[in-house]
Symmetry: C2
Subunit: 273 residues, 2 copies
């Protein structure tokens, strides 16, 4: 059984009237837990706060969430987990309208660490392009509970040899992969990642990597990225809070090698604690 803490109580169910269920009216964070400790906690809380501001969602105190996360982690003998925190707006009747003072509920779930093949990080992964596309939205960037786009894109393929799918926007620009952000490194050693102000989810690991890259004073660009540009890149990798970094060795028929910059970033990410 997956341990679940809902508004501080160990339960496995929520009200059928929850606005998270009815409208996806809420936010979530997916946090790596290693040696019993949630990683990049502050960064996850900052993104949650940014989303809450946009959705006008009442957030519980982050110290309360942290205490509850540790309480949940202590229930288990394992040391490595995926902690999912979901904040949804309380039921306020059958209508899109909510009372401005509406409270939220908090759900903390502790999932087993996913069993991705070790080869994904060591030998790299193969990607495809998804047919499903994303459109510009005022909700871009935040990690809200409306995730049908990702569900549809991810379920376009069954082939287990393809680890992830790249999703484009309605102008054919690269946005992200279904559950991760994408970076590429050009022949001029410039690190490029798509601009996500119009659509996509700005990952916490992406933000961490951008900060690290700035700190190293490496050249980088947050910009539009066409598939044709991706084809010419020297190195490509994916990132998120759980997988860390997966080097990309193949996108459809294009091949890449795992380069020294990807390896340096892999080493840096391995040090996060």
């Amino acid at each position: 059984m997956i341990p679940a803490l809902i508004n501080g109580e160990f339960r496995q169910s929520i009200s059928v009237f929850d606005r998270g269920f009815h409208y996806g009216d809420g936010l979530f964070e997916t946090i790596a837990v290693k040696q019993g400790k949630p990683l990049l906690w502050q960064q996850h809380m900052q993104r949650l706060q940014a989303g809450a501001t946009q959705l006008k969602l009442h957030l519980p105190d982050s110290q309360l969430l942290y205490r509850e996360a540790l309480h949940l982690i202590q229930q288990s003998q394992q040391s490595q987990f995926v902690l999912k925190i979901m904040i949804s707006r309380n039921n306020t009747g059958r209508a899109y309208y909510y009372q401005p003072e509406s409270l939220s509920q908090r759900v903390l779930l502790l999932f087993p660490w996913p069993q991705y093949p070790a080869s994904y990080q060591q030998q790299g992964v193969k990607l495809r392009f998804c047919h499903h596309y994303l459109s510009p939205s005022p909700l871009a960037g935040i990690k809200h509970l409306n995730r049908l786009d990702q569900v549809i894109a991810r379920n376009e393929w069954q082939d287990a040899s393809i680890a992830e799918g790249i999703v484009l926007d309605n102008n054919g620009n690269v946005v992200e992969a279904t559950m991760s952000n994408i970076f590429a490194i050009s022949a001029e050693r410039v690190i490029v990642t798509p601009d996500l102000t119009q659509c996509g989810i700005a990952g916490v690991m992406r933000a961490w990597l951008l900060a690290y890259i700035q700190q190293q004073a490496w050249s980088y660009q947050i910009t539009t990225l066409k598939p044709s540009q991706l084809k010419t890149m020297q190195e490509v990798f994916l990132c998120n809070s759980i997988i860390g970094i997966w080097p990309v060795t193949q996108i459809e028929d294009w091949h890449y090698t795992i380069g020294d910059m990807t390896l340096k970033l892999l080493q840096a990410v391995a040090q996060i604690n």
Copy 2:
């Protein structure tokens, strides 16, 4: 207490792992129940089927849903309700990926009839334009559980004298209102309603009205509609399965009268049983 029938059982809660809650991975229908009977049942089932095909969602048999709806309705002494049917994909783990054979769960909820002022239908309503906009999506038209756009648009205003808000797309074209579809009638007596193949929700009442209008051999167009065109229209009205038709007498500073075509359609909708 709102009566709720979940997979055939009277319950008030769902699993916290439901994919409807996590991703909005599901569909819903909002159905008027009058004299104990769900109205436009076939039409609602057709839209549900169209959405299920698009989401590759396993649908329960519509006769089972109908039997359960009647069972739920019989629990109450009232004769007028809003029946909400929600179909969501069963939990299949913490990931966007689902097993293709994944089953669905069905939730039937029986809400009290909303207490809209009688004046809305008799004297018309006042609308505003929302700032929040919609974008083209492959998911346009279907009534899925990702409804944050509507939540945000509807909560832009608190002023109770404004009944509804018009939502535009990213090109500034009229799409719909937050919970209803919009029709307008030009000086040449052509009935116009926005094309919803790129974004928006194609309402069951909208479809019913379009079929009725065709049957009457009245001129109509399903097309793009600019706010500037809306300004020049003779009559404007909103529709959905619950409100039927609300004549519009004001949009921001533009004023309209309730014309004879709106009144004829109001009479026709009143006959639905």
